[in-house]
């Protein structure tokens, strides 16, 4: 009976300290929330974003609400949260968004396109004025 009660206490203690991770991104930043229970947040915990080879691509620390914002660098990654007392959890994360760097390349193409249109408009104007 004593062993049974002790086990129950230990199991409940393990569940009380289970580390949960929630993540979301907007294509620019990765937002991570780490918590133990609804009212107990993983404060000042280390957050790492890892690529498929396990290499750290971004890292940060959680605030008093257990939230951290990291730069969003790849669509598929693992998110690892390391707390004190050896608490640690890792989840796989897959995003629907492409990282912003791809958009930046697109902007340069758009700028070149705009220059082409702009000079095209004035070239047509010159042709028209010549007549």
């Amino acid at each position: 009976m004593r062993i049974f009660l002790l086990s129950i206490i230990m199991i409940s203690s393990v569940f009380a300290h289970r580390l949960y991770i929630l993540a979301d991104d907007d294509g620019k930043n990765l937002h991570v929330k780490a918590y133990y229970t609804k009212s107990s947040f993983c404060q000042n915990c280390e957050v790492n974003a890892l690529d498929k080879d396990g290499k750290v691509i971004a890292s940060g620390k959680t605030d008093e609400k257990g939230e951290a914002t990291l730069p969003f660098k790849t669509k598929n990654m693992d998110i690892e949260v390391i707390a004190s007392m050896g608490h640690k959890n890792k989840v796989s994360y897959e995003s629907e968004n492409d990282p912003l760097t791809e958009d930046k390349n697109l902007d340069y193409k758009k700028i070149l396109l705009a220059f082409g249109i702009l000079f095209g408009i004035f070239f047509l104007l010159k042709v028209f004025k010549k007549r």
Binding site: D107, K110, I111, L113, A114, F115, I117, L118, F119, I121, F122, F123, L125, K126, K129, K130
Partner: protein, 200 residues
């Protein structure tokens, strides 16, 4: 400096479009064939100027360059700025099609005004440099004032935004003043013919 789509009342949009169209039509009518490459180059300069961001504290502001463009092109600034704003609206969502008239008027008209200011002659180098500074400073200040007035005309709910729009442009007024002063001095040395309408 760009007002986005869906913000202004239709009467302001129509008024701005009508006035800008009249200026653009006059600029087109009086435009000489040999002036077109210069207008195209300054249109491209205005277009790219919006992508040059200057960090100010946590925010950033971008160059307008309507002073130097107006000082060189005069009324043709309406053409250069109108085409650049059209492309910025269509390709990048800066401003928009419905606000094109209002935005063109707010940015190009101060440029045309400083073109005439540049005609005022001084013998003193310092006074001339102050004038060149004011070409850049004054054109952005006038544009910011017109932007604020446009927003204020939209209704009482926009008064705070109008005030903020003017205040947030104060740093760029000073920056453009300095850039314009150096640009005019440089162009006067290397290519004075470019100012044939205003400084000659």
């Amino acid at each position: 400096m760009h007002i986005s789509e869906g913000v202004l009342n239709p009467e302001i949009l129509i008024g701005g479009a009508v006035i800008s169209t009249a200026f653009v039509a006059y600029a087109l009518k009086t435009l000489k064939n040999e002036e077109i490459p210069l207008v195209a180059v300054f249109s491209a300069l205005f277009f790219i100027g919006s992508f040059i961001h200057v960090p100010i504290g946590p925010a950033s502001i971008h160059l307008v360059l309507n002073g130097i463009i107006g000082a060189i092109l005069g009324i043709r600034a309406f053409l250069a700025i109108g085409v650049a704003l059209l492309l910025q609206g269509v390709l990048f969502g800066f401003g928009g099609i419905t606000t094109l008239g209002v935005n063109t008027l707010n940015i190009a008209l101060p440029g045309v005004i400083v073109y005439y200011l540049l005609k005022v002659k001084f013998d003193n180098i310092l006074l001339n440099n102050i004038k060149y500074f004011f070409v850049g400073f004054g054109s952005v200040a006038l544009s910011a004032l017109m932007l604020s007035l446009t927003l204020a005309l939209n209704g009482e709910a926009f008064y705070d935004v109008a005030r903020l729009a003017f205040v947030s442009n104060v740093p760029i007024m000073a920056i453009e003043g300095i850039i314009t002063m150096f640009a005019i001095n440089f162009l006067q040395k290397v290519y004075p013919k470019v100012f044939r309408g205003s400084l000659a």
